[in-house]
Structures are given as C-alpha cells and as structure tokens.
C-alpha cells in the first residue's frame, strides 16, 4: 500500500481546477437555474434570468403546483408510482425466470430466444399496431395495459443482466437442490431467486428510473388527464401556464427528486447495470 502511494504520480491540480470549473459551468448551472427559478415569484421568473430570487417563495410555489388542476400532480405521482412498482416487479420476476432457463438449458431453441431478446433491444416498438393489440384485448387507455407495455419493452435488457449473473452461479447448487427433491418451481424461487439479490437491485433501480422518466409510452397508451403520469403533467403544466416559469420549474424540481434519491442511494448499482456491456462487449 505504501509503495503504491509513493509510486503514484502527483495529482494534477491545474487540470483539476479546469475540470471542476468546467463541470460547474456546464452541468451545475442548469440545475441551479431550475432551483432558482422554482423559488422566484411569477414576474421575477418570467425574466428568465440566472439570478437570486427577489423574494424567495418556496412554500407558495410548492402549494400552487400541487393544487394546480385539481391536485393533478398528486394523482400523477400516484399513477407513476403504481406504474413503476407494478411494471418493474413483473419485469424482474419474468425476466429472471427466462434468464434462468435460457442460461441453464441449451437446446435448439436457445439461439432463437437469444435473437428475440437482442431484437427487443434494437427494434423500435411499432406504436399504432400496439394500440391495435391493446384495443383488441380491451387494455387500451388502462393502467394495466400500460404496465404490460412497459414490461414488454423492458424485458430484453433485464433478461441480459440476469443471464450474465446466473452464469456465475455454480450448477452444483441446482444439482444439490434437485437431489434434495426440489422441482423446477422450488428450485428457482427458493434456491436461485434469493441469490439474484444484487443483480435484481440493479435491474430494479435502472428500470424504475427508466419507467418513471418514460414520456412516450404513457403519451401513446394512456392518454387523458385523469391518467397523467408525472412526465405528462410537466407537459400539461407548460401549455396551461404559458409563462408561469416559476411553477413549471418547481414541477421539474419535484419530479427530479425520485431519480436523485435513487442516485444517492444506489449509485454503484446503477453504474453496474449501465456498464454491463462495456467490458465484455
């Protein structure tokens, strides 16, 4: 350890200073702008200046945003929570099941399934035909329908993460369980699934952020202001308020909090999930 620290080259302080300044200008100023504008009164905010608020009115803006359009933001937060929790739960269970059999049982179907999983990552979903299918099974404009759509679109990525992890679990474990008389269901849910905890957390965090931030799918498959998810409220607010920038930015601030919390608590898990393909290719 000591030799390592001795050998390590000196920190480059000039470069650090430049990097920190640049990062502040490029990445922090936009966030600071969001916060400052969210604290301003209406007139002050409409000037679009990057300045300290003339009078800070945090509570007032917060109440206004929450109350706007019959507490739409509250309803939207409830909708988004239901959507995120249900779809991510289903995604995790279904993807883990597929990944388990896909990794363990090689057969002539394996290449086809691998191909289908990869296409799920690449192929852009066909919008109107999906609406047509949803209408056919009576799920268009329903939360249930949107949940299943999110599951269908998120499965491929989840399966890949789970499969890579399951490959590291020794088969001997399965065999021991089978000798003890475990059937396929017991083997998976009692023996394997609990071992997937760490990768499951990664999948949950990454997919939760993705579903929570999803704008396109709710726009297409769950239209209507009663059904709005948080991303859509942002949009409704913008057109409704026109120039009420303080409220718009308060809204942006509020919907940025859940991803921020995820980031603070699960930074490593998110990084692990998003860089899964980087080393192996």
């Amino acid at each position: 350890m000591t030799t390592a620290t001795v050998r390590r080259p000196r920190k480059n302080h000039l470069l650090s200073l430049v990097a920190i300044t640049m990062s502040a200008v490029v990445f922090l100023v936009p966030f600071a702008f969001i916060v400052l504008t969210a604290l301003k009164d209406r007139q002050d905010a409409s000037r679009l200046e990057f300045s300290w608020p003339r009078n800070v009115q945090f509570v007032q803006n917060l109440v206004d945003v929450v109350q706007a359009r019959d507490y739409m933001l509250i309803i939207a937060f409830i909708n988004s929570t239901i959507l995120t929790v249900c779809s991510v739960t289903l995604m995790v269970i279904l993807a883990a099941m597929v990944a388990f059999v896909l990794q363990r049982r090689r057969s002539r179907w394996t290449p086809l399934i691998n191909f289908l999983v990869l296409s799920g990552l690449i192929v852009p979903p066909a919008v109107v035909p999906t609406i047509w299918v949803l209408q056919g099974i009576g799920l268009f404009r329903t939360m249930t329908g949107l949940i299943f759509v999110e599951v269908a679109f998120g499965l491929a990525f989840s399966i890949l993460l789970f499969r890579a992890f399951i490959a590291t679990i020794p088969r001997e474990l399965d065999e021991a369980a089978i000798i003890d008389g475990a059937g396929p269901v017991r083997l998976f849910f009692r023996v394997i699934f609990p071992l997937l905890r760490s990768v499951a957390i990664t999948v949950i965090v990454v997919q939760s952020v993705a579903v929570f931030n999803d704008f396109t799918n709710p726009l297409y498959f769950l239209p209507g202001s009663d059904n709005a998810t948080v991303q859509l409220t942002l949009y409704n607010f913008q057109s409704q308020y026109g120039t009420q920038y303080n409220l718009l930015f308060m809204n942006i601030l509020l919907i940025t909090i859940p991803p921020l919390i995820m980031f603070l608590f699960f930074n490593r898990r998110i990084v692990a999930g998003m860089t899964a393909g980087a080393v192996k290719g």
Partner: protein, 307 residues
C-alpha cells in the same frame, strides 16, 4: 424436445441422475418462458409483425383498406417527411459522434490523477437519470434567443449567439447538443468501466518504456477500450435514431418541420389520424435501425475473439 433428448441431456450432466433416472423432466422447465413470452409476444412481437401489413393500408384501427406501397411513396415524396428521415440520420450521427469523442476524453480525464474525481463523475452522470422532458424544457428556456442564459453569457464576451431553437438551420443541432449534454455521462461511464478493466501492467510497461501520455492513449487506451467503444456506438445510435422525447419537448419538430425526426413524424401522423402512414413511418424507422445497427455490430465485433 422429446423425453429421450431430455434424459440424454440430463444424464450427460449429472452422474446421479443417470444412475437413478426417475426424474425424466428437466429441472429447467420451458414453462418458465411462458409468462414473459405471452407479454412480449402480444405487445412487442405481434405489433412488430402487424406493422408490416398495416403500413400497406389506409387504416382507422377498426377497418383497413389495402393500398400497396402508397404510404411509403408518400413518405418519400412529401418534403416534410423526407426532412424527418434525413434529420434522423443527422441527429443520430451527430449525437453518437460527439458522445464517443467527449465520452472518451472525459473518461480519460476522470480516470487520471485529479482532485474531486468522485464529484466529477457524479456530476457528469447525473443528467442521464433526469427526466428528458424536464431537461428539454429547461434548455428551451436557457436557449431563448434574447433572454436565455446562454446567449446573454455569450453576449458578455461579445459573441452574438444564434437563435438556437427558432432558427431553422440550428434547431436540430441545438436539440442534438442537449441530447449530448444529457447522454454523455452514460458514454463516459461505459468508457471508464472499459479503461479501468485494462490491466495495470500495460501502463507500467509503457511508463518504463518512457511513453508519453499521448502514446499511452493511442497505443493502449484506444485499442483496449474497444469493447466500450462498440457499446457506446451501438447504444447511442439506437437511442439517436429512435429519439423522440427531447425533440418533442424542445421544438415539436419546428420551426415548420425543420427539426422533425422519424419518431416525431410517427407521432404527428398518429395524432392526425393517418394510422397507416404513421405505421409506415414505424416500418421505415425499423428498417433504418436494423440496416445501420446490425451490419455495424457485425463489423465492429469481427475482430473480437469471444462472442
């Protein structure tokens, strides 16, 4: 699969099962595929296949009339739609190009010996997790031609900034720049993972040989971070070609249709009730994505030993 196959497979793997073949069924049941297959098949595969047929029709969800390739002819005749097609390619190339270059440079910077590395990594990555619509609306304000922070700051140093989003020749590129701002953190992260996985001996050896920073970068980092480059290119191309949220939040394809991309054309035609034309747009997008990504993926992975 027949029972015989299963028994062979099973017997080949475990000697215990071979000695007492009382359990014929594989412990890895195909039933496990079923729930996922139903959801994926109904809501992803079926619509994808159906899109090829419905793109050839005049369609109102309830009834459709077969009109051959008319939708595609229209798609490549109307200037607005052609513009969307060309813009999609420009947008994808510009965003992925910038993400590769900036991502790699940032990753080299953030793996070198500098102060506050953790802070810098977090700050660069955080925008990836923020709502695209939120970012889009924020930058729409920052890019306001007269009062926006960007042009006001440029004015301070004597530069007359362009009307980022309202000038037809800049609108698409402005959106692309914001896309890079939001997405470069992911590219950086992938490159960091790639660079960190390079064995330290290479760098040691290079130092012993007296290689400079540039030589190390060109001879070690660049070739050995290749899997990361492949991932970044593929991911950002797929994302760039499909991009909708940001364009919609910032310009809605305007001014006019100068910043339309295929995905926003699909939405506009859907809103206007031209479901057949909208679906044709989807098929075009499908063809563009597969025609670019799959050959590229094959080409980039050709030199890889494994997979």
């Amino acid at each position: 699969m027949t029972a015989l196959d299963v028994r062979q497979e099973h017997g080949g793997r475990t000697s215990v099962a071979a000695a007492r073949p009382r359990r014929v069924r594989s412990p890895y049941s195909y039933w496990f595929y079923l729930p996922a297959a139903v959801v994926y098949g109904a809501l992803f595969l079926a619509p994808t296949f159906a899109s090829f047929y419905f793109s050839l029709t005049r369609w109102t969800i309830f009834e459709h009339e077969f009109i051959g390739l008319d939708n595609f002819v229209q798609f490549f005749q109307e200037p607005a739609l052609i513009k969307g097609f060309v813009n999609t390619l420009i947008y994808a190339v510009v965003t992925s190009g910038l993400k590769i270059v900036l991502g790699l440079l940032l990753a080299v910077l953030l793996t070198s010996q500098i102060v506050a590395r953790g802070y810098l990594r977090s700050v660069v990555f955080f925008p990836v997790l923020v709502s695209t619509i939120g970012v889009g609306l924020t930058f729409t304000v920052l890019m306001h031609p007269d009062e926006g922070l960007i042009n006001k700051s440029l004015a301070l140093v004597g530069i007359d900034g362009p009307a980022w989003l309202t000038d037809p020749s800049y609108a698409l590129l402005s959106v692309a720049l914001v896309d890079v701002w939001k997405g470069v953190g992911l590219a950086t992260l992938i490159y960091i993972a790639g660079i960190v996985s390079i064995p330290g001996e290479y760098f040691e050896a290079a130092r012993v040989d007296g290689a400079g920073r540039l030589a190390v970068f060109r001879a070690i980092v660049l070739p050995l971070a290749r899997p990361a480059t492949v991932t970044v290119i593929i991911l950002s191309l797929i994302g760039g070609l499909r991009s909708f949220d940001l364009v919609w939040a910032m310009t809605r394809g305007g001014p006019g249709f100068t910043s339309d991309v295929i995905a926003s054309v699909i939405y506009k035609q859907y809103q206007a009730g031209f479901y057949g034309l909208s679906t044709a747009g989807n098929v075009v997008l499908f063809l563009v994505v597969t025609a670019i990504v799959i050959p590229l993926y094959g080409f980039l992975n050709r030199k890889e030993v494994d997979q």
